[in-house]
Symmetry: D2
Subunit: 338 residues, 4 copies
């Protein structure tokens, strides 16, 4: 076996734990050397849970460790851009959770640092690695649906995030729809214009925070196709993640994932399992797969599958959607920095 | 058995044939006495096929026949409004295919005549009578999906109509989407604003005729819910007619109808039947059911299930969509006569 | 239009009504001239419901009417054989509900009469005409499942018949499984041996009548394939009628038919409609289709799709199953008259 | 964290690798200390792949290692019984792949040794741990299908094993159906009688080896229910593993698992993914889960979920099936050692 890729993890929260588990248990090509979190106790606990040799209260120790090849940035969103710049300065390859930042200038500054340092950067758009969505992409790429005409993305959360999070999240378009914007680009290519409608139908508190909880966004693609995303902060039946790609040659629909395949019939009807409720379960395979590809990109010195620009454009789309919602008119990406 | 409702059919084309067959073979409460068509040969053929006693080259003979209780207006769209007025003047109850007219003033004039005459009027929005769509409506009405949040209507034809028809049809929104506009109202109630996008992706000839063949229309409902309709003039796999009603209590999805229930697995995959290709097959039950309800409304002197106003509003929505597409902005129904 | 086939219906019960409706409303090539039933009132009611010109308390009047080309024998099972002989003597073509008789000698006597008279005979194995089962047969015939290996037939009634009927029915194998025996032959060809197990799990009264209500029958086909039928007199979720044909090239599974295509998800699960509960609904299309083919066989002077021998063999299989159950051993059809 | 359970693995083939991976990467409560295989190279490779500290050419070294708490017996079937006895003598807990032996006397001798030593024994009937089959069992246990009436198990391999394996496997009933016999007991309880039919339809070589490749086995349960298992050595569309449990309260059907949820429609039909082809993929979760429960049974000193008697009875059922096939008659388990 060749020398493993040495990893440092920045942030020790829920998503850091997912990546740690995948790296430690499922990706023998990688070795996690350290984890850092401003809440030092969290870093220590994560280190202990996965036999990670070192834990720190500060990311600096990771940047300073010459053995570390790459870092995962799993800290809070407002630190991402700065962490990217520090990591680039330390010549570490970077996996960064989405979004890079809520501010385009900061994103551009960070991407510039990455470019200058010549390190690899992968953004955590995990859904691209879901087996069903990947299959839809392959069918489009191989021409099985013909010329793309209409793309439908349904993306509904099982429950709204805590209000404290809603207030700093940048709003539904930058926090939740951003995944769908990435998926739209992944499947049908670049978008030139968006029109967003939204309303507060789930929780009035979300409205008080200046956000909406139910939204439909129409997309005009550069290739002439039309897309539509529908979002809700609360689907009572679980995490609803479906995609439909329609074209001249047919349609490909990716349906939800269920915990089992049992269909039961009784006097009341025919019943089956709800979609997996929790995003970590739903995208368990996808999280493992994105990490595997990040490690492979480093090991084989090839481009990462989700680049810096892939991290930037969905933020632009989010801004366009926000402006569209506010002004109730279609907005071109070029108007907001596209 | 009580005295049957005597019917005269105006127009002897494809849809007249469907209604004649249902009335003659499946609705013993009705009796078709006559059929009229400007192409007299067509009227004669229809009469002969279904043992209809009389056929005429002119609708006048039907209006003049005192035994006839009700007429079905199945002639070309441009004659509907005038036929309604003549029927109302002759005190006949009226079943009229959609749309009443492409001109709102004509619609209002015709509806006024109906009102003054005190006759019943039912508009041919057959899809309301489809067992699956009716079931979705019942589930909404009984609160099974909770408060309505998002409505998705997919409506794709298996193939575009002949170009000659496209040119006089009023365009995709007044010819095809009009059914979806009706369905939207049927399920989620009144719409206040629409935003339409469209493109020519199926056939450039449609573009030359000034129309689009692929469209996505966003709807804002009076109750705060959001709707989205996606249309295509050509789905290679058949007639694609699906509905998804999402709310605080869950989601109800009406899927396509297939000719059989066989699922076959072989070395290449798992395969099943395409949706029924032809709208007459897809909505066979619905056509019979709408006619049954029309006859019942007369026999029991109760309101028809699809009234004159139900014929008017979708035309307004079509105009709003047309204006929205042209001006690339959301348009309120009030702007175009709503 | 050519001269219609004139029909007399013998028996005015539930199944007679189905055939009358199909003939009168859906098959213009046929004309029902008369109906006879020993309960004269029933005959009169049926005649009145479908505008049938004549009704009689006795089948004799039908046999004597020279205008009548063909009869439907829908009277009680114990009269079938005698009615066939009388009809054959009167040179009428014959459609006879299953079974011809519960006694093989009687069947042979009746089939002999048919043969000597040179009239056509079709047995009412309606399921052969179900669109999904026909599709499976076509797939087998066209080689899409390859060489046949395993056939599975699930056939469960929504509720047991009245005890009075159970007592004269000949038992589950001759009353209920007989349809599945026919289906087995229709799909995979001749059977040489059966092994039947059964138990009383639904209703002890059925056991007291000497019958079982739950059964599994294994079939050895002449071509080496193996079949298995499972029966229950009571499936709480409705009429369960499925078929699975497995072979070297794949598998074809015909699933149940539902009244609608709605799939609803809520906090408790994902729900859809139960199978159609009632056999007349489930096989509505099949009943119309078998009658259409009977009329066509006469009109075009071609063999009927379900012949006398097709009526005989499933009775033999029923006897073999009965003997197998009693003796708890596999029984060859040859042992019981095959 | 408490002290981990120390494991030694005997055998270094395909299934040993699966267990090693699960223990090393997914079950932190266990620690694999050594692996032994008579093909020493295989043991060394497995040790190296999963950082297992020691590898041996002989199981003796494992039995002699006092630190080792439990062994996994993954060596060839003919060694299982002897390995169990040696492990019991060394006071190791035991996980043993199925079957314990093909000879009942050997099984009884081994189980006796286990009993005397007071160690835990778990048999590798992995399918019990499949999420869908477990769900069916829970539904039965909680009364959701009511009283059990009919059980159907479909179990078809994607391709026959190598002929060399067929010759020593004990035949289809002891090698393949044995899993289904276990599943039948797991779901519906004890079986008293079986009737087996079988044929050579897949590969004449299998027939030359004295075995069949296609089989249907009927089961009579002690509770009066009836079961039926259908087996094929070759399903061209993949690994077909389905279960249907029918009772007075309804039916629960566990369907196959697919690699993705994409449904694609084109001009030819509607298509979706085949079942997972390979048993290791199909039962990936089940293998991890059975190992987790084995470790938990040791750690918490509770009974294992699949006991020695659970390993014995399916072998008896296999013998009964074999005798039934040979003599073409139903055979009671009591006749062959049940």
């Amino acid at each position: 076996m060749t020398k493993p890729i040495n990893i440092g993890i920045i942030g020790a929260g829920r998503i850091a734990r997912v990546h740690a588990e995948n790296l430690v248990y499922r990706i023998p090509e990688a070795k996690v050397l350290a984890v850092a979190d401003v809440i030092y106790d969290a870093a220590q606990k994560l280190a202990s849970a996965f036999q990670i040799p070192a834990s720190f209260p500060d990311a600096g120790a990771i940047f300073d460790d010459a053995r570390i090849d790459a870092v995962l940035i799993c800290s809070s969103t407002d630190t991402h851009a700065q962490m990217i710049e520090s990591a680039a300065a330390a010549r570490k390859h970077i996996f960064c959770e989405k979004p890079i930042a809520l501010d385009l200038a900061k994103i551009d500054h960070a991407l510039d640092a990455v470019k200058r340092a010549g390190v690899k950067l992968q953004i955590g758009f995990n859904r691209r690695f879901d087996p069903s969505f990947k299959r839809v992409r392959e069918m489009i790429a191989s021409g099985q649906i013909g010329a793309p005409h209409i793309l439908r993305i349904t993306s509904r959360d099982p429950a709204p995030p805590p209000m404290a999070y809603v207030q700093v999240s940048g709003g539904i378009f930058l926090d939740m729809t951003i995944h769908d914007f990435d998926m739209a680009r992944f499947l049908f290519g670049e978008v030139v214009e968006v029109y967003a409608t939204g309303n507060v139908l789930v929780d009035p508190e979300i409205g008080k925070a200046g956000d909406v909880d139910t939204a439909v966004v129409t997309l005009k693609f550069a290739n002439g196709a039309i897309g539509v995303i529908d979002n809700s902060r609360k689907a009572i039946y679980g995490y609803d993640q479906r995609i439909e790609a329609f074209g001249s040659g047919g349609v490909a629909i990716a349906n939800n994932k269920t915990p089992d395949t049992v269909v039961a019939s009784d006097g009341a009807g025919v019943h089956s399992a709800k979609p997996l409720y929790f995003f970590l379960e739903r995208y368990m395979d996808a999280f493992a797969s994105e990490m595997r590809e990040f490690i492979a990109a480093i090991a084989q010195d090839k481009p990462t599958p989700v680049t810096g620009i892939d991290g930037r454009v969905p933020v632009v789309m989010g801004y366009a959607a926000l402006k569209s919602l506010k002004e109730n008119r279609p907005v071109k990406l070029l108007e907001v920095g596209g």
